[in-house]
Amino acid sequence: MPRFQPGDTVRVLDLGKPGHVRIPFFVRHKTGVVERHCGAYANPEELGYGRPGLPPIDLYRVHFRQDHLWPDYTGPANDTLEIEVYDHWLAPA
């Protein structure tokens, strides 16, 4: 059972983790809404170093408002962005 469901509000953590991570800086500390659960996959942060990355980790697509990601965003307020985030980078918000 995934920890989050579509519609849940979540915050992206900043784990301060060095090396191969699949989370760009621009979504760290930002709040968004889970769009879907994408399944569970071997942890790429382990795979990157030749380790098995098991057990698999839940992956979600998270929906953000652009004007929240970029306070100086110049486009319309209804512009959005979706990005995949692994469970361990998320907290309930």
Binding site: F26, R61, E84
Partner: protein, 214 residues
């Protein structure tokens, strides 16, 4: 007399690199990698770990997928509303119905509507549905496209010749992990009645990435 090693690109040297230094696009170090790849290939052939032609076969397999495969899927969705629904519900499964096996990840199809325009980018590398569309174009891999599409998508789209009105939501999809994305563009007027062969040439790579519309 040992052969001297080629000089590796500067970013791998022990010299400290300024992290704020502007990124230079291009082939910094390409000669080094080309040379090292060539050398490794030669050794593998000499040791008979690879046969002549093995590499060519792999490259041919990598290069077989192309834009017309994605176009075929879009054409089907334009002609058949039920197929379009299946495509949005499970992209990989719907692609398989037409004989296209998405090998690297799950395919997520995002549908454009009069109120929504989707555009795909991979900020972290260049994730792209290669087993369906082949290798990504140079601009998709460029650091410019990757950095700017998440930051100022409308400016990037305008540079591709696509000016969208403010009441159309622009939704950027950062393809950064285990999914691969394909945009389902809106069909041209009357497309539902046209044969597939007539529709396929209308679907460009730019439409499938979301940097153009039909």
């Amino acid at each position: 007399m040992p052969i001297p090693s080629p000089v590796p690109p500067s970013r791998f040297s022990a010299d400290a690199v300024d992290p704020k230094r502007p990124v230079v696009e291009g082939h910094d170090g390409a000669d080094y990698y080309a040379l090292m790849t060539e050398a490794l290939h030669k050794i593998l052939l000499e040791k008979q770990l690879l046969a002549q032609g093995d590499t060519d076969r792999v490259i041919a397999a990598l290069e077989a997928p192309n834009v017309t495969w994605g176009a075929r899927i879009v054409a089907e969705a334009w002609r058949d509303a039920a197929y379009a629904e299946r495509l949005v519900a499970d992209g990989s499964k719907a692609a398989a119905e037409l004989g296209f096996k998405i090998k690297e990840a799950k395919l997520v199809v995002v549908r454009n509507t009069p109120a929504l325009h989707n555009v795909i980018v991979c900020t972290l590398c260049s994730c792209y549905p290669r087993s369906l569309l082949g290798q990504p174009p140079w601009w998709y891999i460029s650091k410019n496209y990757r950095a700017r599409t998440v930051r100022e998508p409308r400016a990037v789209l305008a540079e591709f010749g696509l000016d969208l009105p403010a009441d159309v939501e622009v939704r950027v999809h950062d393809s950064n992990a285990d999914m691969r994305y394909l945009v389902l563009p809106m069909a041209p007027e009357g497309a539902a009645d046209w044969p597939v062969e007539k529709l396929i040439p209308l679907v460009t790579r730019h439409m499938l990435v979301g940097t153009a519309v039909a």
